[in-house]
Symmetry: D5
Subunit: 97 residues, 10 copies
């Protein structure tokens, strides 16, 4: 199953600079793990924002939830999930790749 | 450049059944052409709606506009475009494929 | 997988009374089939509206889409789907039943 | 009477970790009591959020209010209540179980 | 149980004048019956709109739904229902009357 | 003149428990005075929220403003006012009482 | 009592040109009467729209409703009313005139 | 040029009472100056809120901006500006005064 | 004075193809006149929509209104106007050109 | 490529006055650099707000993101980006300049 997920992070103003840098470094590391695990399939930045949209793949909604909660920025993030169904054109896409 | 595009189609109630079928057949054919051209990179259905979200690739915003306007359902579609920036994790994604 | 689905139907003013009755009768019949198939697990009316909220169960998002599209009122319906994850309390609920 | 209730909790950033853990433990315990009492009939998590949707049953709106206010997270929660009416298909659902 | 109900009616432009007058006359008559039955407890007009807010009383949400559906303007109405709980001040109000 | 007024209170997280209790006690006392004065005519709780909807009566909008500002929770409240016009059915309501 | 009123008119596409002109002529005439009566105190156009914002004065909300309903465009208008209270600076304004 | 301006002020909870009183006193004084200068033409309170709507007159949008920024509450205010065009009825209004 | 104006056109489904083409041709011609007159200073298409955003210049809000109403698509357009103030950086922009 | 970008800044109440002045001075300096670099093509203030709308030009969405993130107010800014396509009238505009 695939999901369109929008993650927007709002770090508190009072977060010290080194904690902020540390948090974002951990976030990047966790992101690489999720990519390696095949959970995070595609990801893009929303320009001008501390936000991304991405395609997540998971065996169940529970698995997706666990993956999202594992993000270091989770306590500061607003996350919106949209379930996606395969589109008839997908077959054409797969051939084209 | 890549764009997140949401297309939702609302066909008029009074559209005869055969025109509706014809329109959707032309839409599917045009979709396959856009996939073959590399313009339509990924596409998913929004469950329960005559709507999709997709990743479109175009050399410019003008090219994107021309591609969207070429959709047979365009006169009946509500289209929302979001410009996307590459995300640092994308490199990790490309290695993982 | 379970989904929270809200279906709101807006029949066109010009739909003749007998077509309206016929459509709603077919809708009820299709609803009973979906209940029998275990797809429609719980359903409630939103008071004062031609609308319901329900818990749908499906093996995949594609299956859910096909079930929603099979509703006779689908061309006139506005449908919103929310993917649901199991909640830790669910186990307690199952024991309580 | 049954109600669709959405509870979203936003814990303050400055809440110490042990208070947070304590609060959520009390919340789970209260949830189990409400399940045992038949007040909380079904509950699901909204993936990626500290939020749930649930079906609550109460003898009156006052009883529902008292149950919601008894949640330990109540001071931090945004709660939306929708009154539900029985749907004609419910009888079919009951037979199917 | 009491409910705050907002009813806004949008009659189709093409409704002939006499049908409009007839519909509104039936609506007023049905309103008087609901008042007599104690279902419609308080009602006010929203100035400048074909809309009202009212306090409805019903033994259950199903009864409320049946009463709302019995309104002649129902096919043209947008109806929003909010369940109400008694307020501690109500006792003071009752003494004051 | 009558007004539909919705008052939602959001007390700051850092308000000490005894100040909170004190504030709400003063609020209740002020509410009883407004009921006795005939200003607060009907009041209901919105279930699950620190919020109410009420019918306020005042000789002018200025009088209404002064009454609302006199609420102890006013600095923490979000208040929405809707002017109400008498409805033709009101006469029927008065006879029914 | 004074009210801020926003009136936006959406004439149906199929209204013949002469009926449209006739309707707007009647609207202007009725507007002049309401100005003469002191009901319509100030009025401005919202640029680019068939819409205005105005300050209306009436002895009661019922009087305001009757005045708004007397507008020839009423069946096609979306009207929003906001009750206004005198501001302490008003006295200064009156002296300045 | 005239503008409809809505100013809503949200003072921080932690602002000491005497600073709050001081700020509002300066605000009133600045308001009287703007009235005397002919910039603030009409002003009303929104009942139950620390908010007003007003008609501002300025030689240019830059002048309007400077006047709004000169308000002592500006750092705490949410300000919405709507440009207004003269309405054909205005001439009738001027004659009626 | 300059204004940010968003114009979105929704042509009725039943508009014959040649009328649609004719209307859009007149729209383009009128646009060229407004450019020549210095009223329309910058204009861009919103990709995928029959919509544009543009910077309009006018001596007054009334002049802007007259220019917008002169657009052949006006009866079918939804128009939003935002008044703009010069920004301190504008001087830098002018030097850079 | 050109983008319509809206930047609204909300400085924290507790930011000391000299830090606020310093931040805004750096913001102005960075703005002048972006103008000199041809990235910031047009900019206007939204009257009454600490906000601007501007036309940004960049070789890619990534370049735009980097430019926006380089703004000193970025941690406090809410930024909305809209991709723009050239409009057929642009050619006419270029001739008119």
């Amino acid at each position: 199953m695939e999901f369109l997920v929008r993650v927007e992070t709002r770090l508190p103003d009072e977060l010290p600079e080194y904690e902020r840098a540390d948090l974002l470094a951990h976030e990047a590391a966790r992101g690489r793990e999720l990519v390696a695990a095949g959970t995070l399939r595609h990801i893009w930045r929303l320009p001008g924002r501390l936000a991304n949209v991405a395609i997540w793949s998971a065996g169940s909604v529970e698995e997706l939830h666990d993956a999202l909660v594992s993000l270091p920025v989770w306590p500061y993030a607003e996350i919106e999930v949209t379930a996606l169904a395969a589109h008839p054109l997908t077959q054409a896409v797969d051939k084209a790749v």
